[in-house]
Subunit: 198 residues, 2 copies
């Protein structure tokens, strides 16, 4: 069965963005604080990572076969211009298909009938690779529907004091995890990988 | 200058207790899941830890010269029967000195005029050892008053989904930290030590 993981850069107090969408300079400092270049599917986006983080990021690029994202993330990034940096197909969970989409030149699929069909579609697209889900709301829906296998946290040494928590309004709490394994220490980030216990 | 640290067992989603004060079985599982006995100042309380956690805990016992706690923690534990497991003097920050206290047989000091005098009192009592502060509200007040040097998180692999966050309503956010160093992997806990950057 395809592994489904949720991943996020998160502050020590649990936020994936600070108050009024601030804090990204801190949360994503590790994307650019090293000298190892990692190219992505977006020619305009090359990461500059420290070696431990470069290994984590390269592995993520190689392993991920499809993504599930929410409409908010899709709109915020303007659909990544039609090509996600990971370079894989993207399933967008939305109430309404946005105007101008789908596009023949972009591997984006729009699912309007809930998280389970969205993840099922992503599993088909991913083949024998992994499905990544992003955005706190999508991760929470996957947890509640028992669709999530792994949680990969890039834990950033900052307290944002408010904003958008990665985990919020869980219906099925407590959710017991196993791990973290591995624990990889980067520069201004600690990479932690947990398994969701069923 | 005496180092002042805040410490807590915290869920991955940032809570030090779950909804309706639940979750302690998960948060403190690591206190009893090993076979290394660590005695405390309380004859009735012996920890049974895995070796990595035993080292962390022994060091905490040896290094800590005084504690600052809030009234809520004091009441919840019934003043630890007059003797805190760490075996050091305790400063209780409270609006009113509780009835029956102070007691000649117990090294508890009550401070009613704010966090700064409470920490100053603890510094004097600690001598050349560390001051620990516990309870999220006390930690937050120390952060806001720039009195906190270290944050020691025992990060537990569980999502509690609600309850009491360790860090809440920070006035001075974002608070940039350095570390974690060291990172010590226990069994159902990851010990992380951060420095507060000023």
């Amino acid at each position: 069965m395809t592994t489904v993981y949720a991943a996020a850069s998160m502050s020590l107090d649990g936020y994936v963005s600070g108050p009024a969408e601030a804090g990204f300079d801190q949360l994503f400092d590790w994307y650019g604080n090293g000298d190892v270049e990692v190219t992505t599917a977006d020619p305009a986006l090359t990461m500059r990572l420290r070696e431990p983080s470069a290994q984590v990021f390269r592995q993520l690029l190689q392993e991920t076969g499809a993504l599930v994202v929410g409409r908010k993330t899709f709109d915020l990034t303007d659909g990544w211009g039609g090509r996600h940096p990971i370079g894989c197909p993207v399933v967008v969970l939305t109430h309404q298909v946005p105007e101008g989409w789908p596009r023949p030149d972009a591997p984006f699929t729009f699912v309007t009938d809930g998280i389970e069909p969205a993840v099922a579609t992503a599993r088909q697209l991913a083949g024998d690779r992994l499905v990544g889900v992003s955005g706190g709301s999508i991760a929470r829906q996957c947890l509640d529907a028992e669709l999530l296998d792994e949680i990969r946290i890039d834990l950033v040494p900052v307290l944002l004091g408010g904003g958008t928590p990665f985990f919020d309004h869980l219906r099925t709490a407590p959710v017991v995890l196993d791990g973290p394994s591995p624990v990889i220490e980067g520069d201004r980030v600690t990479h932690l990988r947990y398994r969701v216990r069923r």
